[in-house]
Subunit: 325 residues, 2 copies
Amino acid sequence: MASEETLIVDCDTGIDDALALLYLLGDPDVEIGAVTTVFGNTDADTAALNTLRVLELAGRPDIPVAVGARSNWRGGSHLASYVHGDDGLGNTNLPAPTAAPSSEPAAELIVRLARQNPGTVHLLAVGPLTNLATALLLEPELPRLVKHVTIMGGALRHPGNVTPAAEANIHNDPEAARIVLQAGWPVTLVPLDATMTEVITEDHQRRLAATGSPVATFTASILDQYFDFYESTVFGERKAACHDPLAAAIAVGDVEPLLAPVVAVDVDTEDGPGRGATVADLRGQYRNFPPQEGATVRVVLETDRTFPELLVDRLCSAAPARRVA
Amino acid sequence: MASEETLIVDCDTGIDDALALLYLLGDPDVEIGAVTTVFGNTDADTAALNTLRVLELAGRPDIPVAVGARSNWRGGSHLASYVHGDDGLGNTNLPAPTAAPSSEPAAELIVRLARQNPGTVHLLAVGPLTNLATALLLEPELPRLVKHVTIMGGALRHPGNVTPAAEANIHNDPEAARIVLQAGWPVTLVPLDATMTEVITEDHQRRLAATGSPVATFTASILDQYFDFYESTVFGERKAACHDPLAAAIAVGDVEPLLAPVVAVDVDTEDGPGRGATVADLRGQYRNFPPQEGATVRVVLETDRTFPELLVDRLCSAAPARRVA
């Protein structure tokens, strides 16, 4: 990652959010300026507590955590405890955090940091896009203040995961996603097309468990719940997709996509069977994706499928000791 | 094809409709009971005249042709002369037909033949689905009277061809397509996912031109217009997809799909970016597509890509003499 970048991670922690945070925290060159939370995998307040727990596990209680949207544009919130466990972290009962979330609302924090650090903030959003859309309404200049936006979300050539057409982060707030994806800022969208091919397995889990460090032991244990879900619902075997950590690795430049055209992306906000679908214009696929006027969203369609190794290496080598802020 | 089947071809002739008809007419074991026409590639009346021209070229002026819907469920009709030429047949100026269309409307003809031949009619629809939807409204028992329905239409994992999400036949009348795809009868849907991989090339065209028979000469000449469109808009080179002929070959059993799960299929009839999209539930793709209760639509996702050879062989061997009915 470019050293002049400050990362703001917007997440709904969540098993794979925890993996993404621990992946990033394991790189001394990555500067996380703040973490903001949103409803999704769990509620926004639990997501903040879980984020603080994970930060403390990694010895980084100094990173500010701000709570954001507790519901979507329409006032609803669908939570995914069936995927992430009742506590959002695979029912692993990590100790309660000693730190508390910031009193500053997530969207305001995003706007403030972007104003204070023009051209250097990289927004990494791995939950519903409600906080980012709110920040765009608070500060219409945000697209010019922010350096880049990387989003885990959407399904292009791949089926959705909550409906046949829609992926969970986008489906949780299609109206917000449409605002964010059409704001004209440089976005990298990491959809299921890529994340579902980067698969963490029981072999990886065994490696983590054998390592014995607090981070590796924790990540091995949260994978149990995740594998339960993926085995029964998706793959028919004990393995899981690396959604959020892959987006994190792409954001900081550790994973270079093999195919990632810049194309027009719309979000279906109607109430039909396509609600929450990311409608990307991939019609240029037979001509090497010629440029599309006005398009600013790079959609990651293929990666080389070796990321889980990198992720597990990083988690296994995480320092056991707490780092003093 | 099972010899007890009577095929009714519903089409909007059209370059690839003509190829499909000539492909079918070249098989003495295929019985075409009637051809019905609909707006789409061209208007419904021109489609009927073009169908008669093609039938007469193949020596089959005896097959009845009935005109159907001139507009879609909403009263509109978007024609594709930019793809198929002003005359719908690549501006090849085939002689005017000697026969005339039947006075019976297409949907009534479909219902009558289905009632007269219960359990033996196979509907092959390669245009917008307005006639089939109308027939379903005329005769609610139609799903039990008809043996099978094969449809060229839709885009599942593949981009659309008229919008990023929608294929032309479905987009031309999403309301009708929804009625047809949700009628509970056994349907084989042949979407762009399959047809875009079955590609006819300039080599094929040269083979056809060199053969010298009326059918081969005509098909070689109509491909010029088709290649113009595909070169400028889709492939960047002179070749074209075998949409309608592939559906015909699958209907009569000449092509066996490699991957064709039976899944729930909905059609997006909203006015958002997904209008006309075929929303198929492919979420079972990692588990070999487990059965879905109530699903009756087999979606063809992969074929072996050798069909153009079969098509050209058939067109090159078409008998030059007229067959007497």
